[in-house]
Amino acid sequence: MSASAASTPGRFALGGRRLRDRIGDGLLHVITAAAALGVLVVVGLIIYELIRQSRLSMSTFGLGFLTSRAWDPVTGDFGALDFIYGTLYTSFLAVLIAAPAAIAISLFLTELAPRGIRDVIATLVELLAALPSVVIGLWGIFVLGPFVKDTLGPFLSRWFGWLPFFDGTPQLTGYLPAVIVLAVMMLPITAAVARELFLTVPSDLKEAALALGATRWEMIRGVVIPQTRGGLVAAVMLGAGRAIGEAIAVTQVIGDTLGIHISLFMNGDTLASRIASQYQGAATNLQISALVELAFVLLVFSLITNIVAQVIVRRFERQLEAR
């Protein structure tokens, strides 16, 4: 190359530029690929590191960790059952409240609301997702807590006290405020995904239903919901993933105590909330390791929820493209 370059200066310039471009292209490819590989490495490293740091707890308690109800730093006896129960119970109830509400909101936004109102409400619902969890928790303690204790709780107790869910006396903290807080936090996520799903429903199908004399609700039930059913499951699961993993707001309102209760007026704890509440208190290596193992259990829950939801979303998108 240097020989030909010396004989023809014009080609030298061209060759030089090509070389620089080849190096530049290669460099950009390598750097960006390295960054992309970094993302995969980080996810792998998170799983590896949590297993590594919880090894002490795993070898001490074995699988019994998952079924043990103990959390005693003094005797060094740790288990996760109460927190697993609390996580699943609060998240499930939050889904029961938030999923229908989120779907109703997105139906309102896509099928019902006039254009001007639609954008305003959609923006406000999105902003609900921007509220920091610690601020929601603060509100949960000082505004929601007293409301549950003095107004909502007595009301539920008076009319539905015969149900095991509303047994006992309402307090400032407990499952009920935690469920409400979680429902508020998962609502905007599910609503955002559901709204995008509803926007994919072909308008000629909807108009055909209306032309046949269906009311708007019959059109929604007969066309919109069946067209998006798979995606809606994923939308709800994505919201549930947020509820399962929320630590701060829950730890502020759930009462941070061991216990497995049906009654929503009782205090309890979740995996994420227990980890958060222990940030200053972990004294021994075993306790730290047990905390990390709680985080690992939480990671497994959230991975399962998220992976299933993402797979469903992607299958739904492929169906849309094929249509």
């Binding site: 950009l28 996810v43 309102f108 409400i121 920091p132 610690v134 000082f142 609700w217 990671l299």
Partner: protein, 294 residues
């Protein structure tokens, strides 16, 4: 009813029932939307009305008072700490996030691209407390809590947000622009650096600020990485620095009502920052999207 011979415009009982059900469902939908907005208004109103009174000049310029009987002092240490931690997180996550997005939009194809988007979404869905525990195990156990460790945990939180929003903006750059550049003999890296990035720059940056707004309000990743702090105002990232969300969280563990007032005021500062940034960047993002798709 069907054996009646003459045609009537009077709605049948069945139609009236269907219309009634329809109206009922419409009201429920409207109610759900209003309820969501009401929750937002209630939270924002509570923060404004309770936080406003504790705001003062000293609140922004002074650190917490070490005097147990006196005033609670300000949150200057937390404001400085949040600035330092978020700066570190942004310096780490913004370039990497943009590079990842460039890789998926310019180089990766088919299966690799799908895998990367999938992993980014999974990373985005991980509980933020898990990220804190991860950095705790990776960095803090062997070293100590610091603003670096906190920033690193927040960087992992921001990375998928930035990468995904950048991906979306890059996808909006018209294919014709790319083809025109290649047709002129411009190499790929020059096309990316000189054409695609500048064309989508506004969108990339607003995606970044949205990620910053999200990270600024996060407490959980800092609990195990940057929480054992001092009350001094410090810019040293080697120390564990106080942050605004952590101040709120810790104030509430204390029964002192003066600290609760401080928590509301800190929440007002945080909420103002987060909401203003979110609203502005969302408006800017919508505008740059319109500009690119025009």
């Amino acid at each position: 009813m069907s054996d009646r011979a003459e045609f009537s415009l009077q709605p049948t009982r069945q139609l009236r029932r269907r219309n009634l059900l329809n109206r009922f469902v419409e009201v429920v939908m409207l109610g759900a939307a209003l309820a969501a907005v009401a929750v937002l208004v209630l939270v924002v109103w509570a923060v404004i009305s309770r936080g406003y009174s504790a705001l003062s000049w000293d609140f922004f310029t002074k650190g917490p008072s070490t005097n147990f009987l006196g005033t609670t002092g300000g949150i200057a240490n937390a404001i400085v700490g949040t600035i330092v931690i978020i700066t570190i997180a942004t310096i780490i996550s913004l370039p990497i996030g943009i590079l990842v997005a460039i890789y998926t939009s310019e180089f990766a194809h088919g299966r690799v691209r799908r895998l990367l988007s999938f992993v980014l979404d999974i990373l985005n869905g991980l509980p933020s407390i898990v990220l804190g525990i991860f950095i705790f195990g990776l960095v803090v156990i062997s070293h100590q809590q610091s603003a670096y460790a906190g920033g690193l945990a927040l960087a992992i939180l921001m990375l998928p947000l930035i990468a995904r929003s950048t991906q979306e903006v890059l996808a909006l750059v018209p294919e014709t622009l790319r083809e025109a550049s290649f047709a002129l003999g411009v190499s790929r890296w020059r096309t990316v650096v000189g054409l695609i990035i500048p064309a989508s720059f506004g969108g990339i940056i607003t995606g970044g600020t949205l990620a910053i707004a999200r990270a600024a309000g996060e407490t959980a990743p800092l609990l195990f990485t940057c929480a054992l702090t001092t009350t001094q105002v410090s810019w040293d990232p080697g120390q564990a620095l106080q942050s605004i969300p952590l101040t709120i969280f810790q104030d509430l563990e204390n029964p002192d009502p003066a600290l609760h007032a401080q928590a509301w005021a800190a929440a007002l500062v945080l909420l103002t920052f987060v909401l203003v940034i979110s609203i502005l960047s969302k408006a800017a993002l919508a505008r740059s999207r319109r500009k690119l798709t025009r």
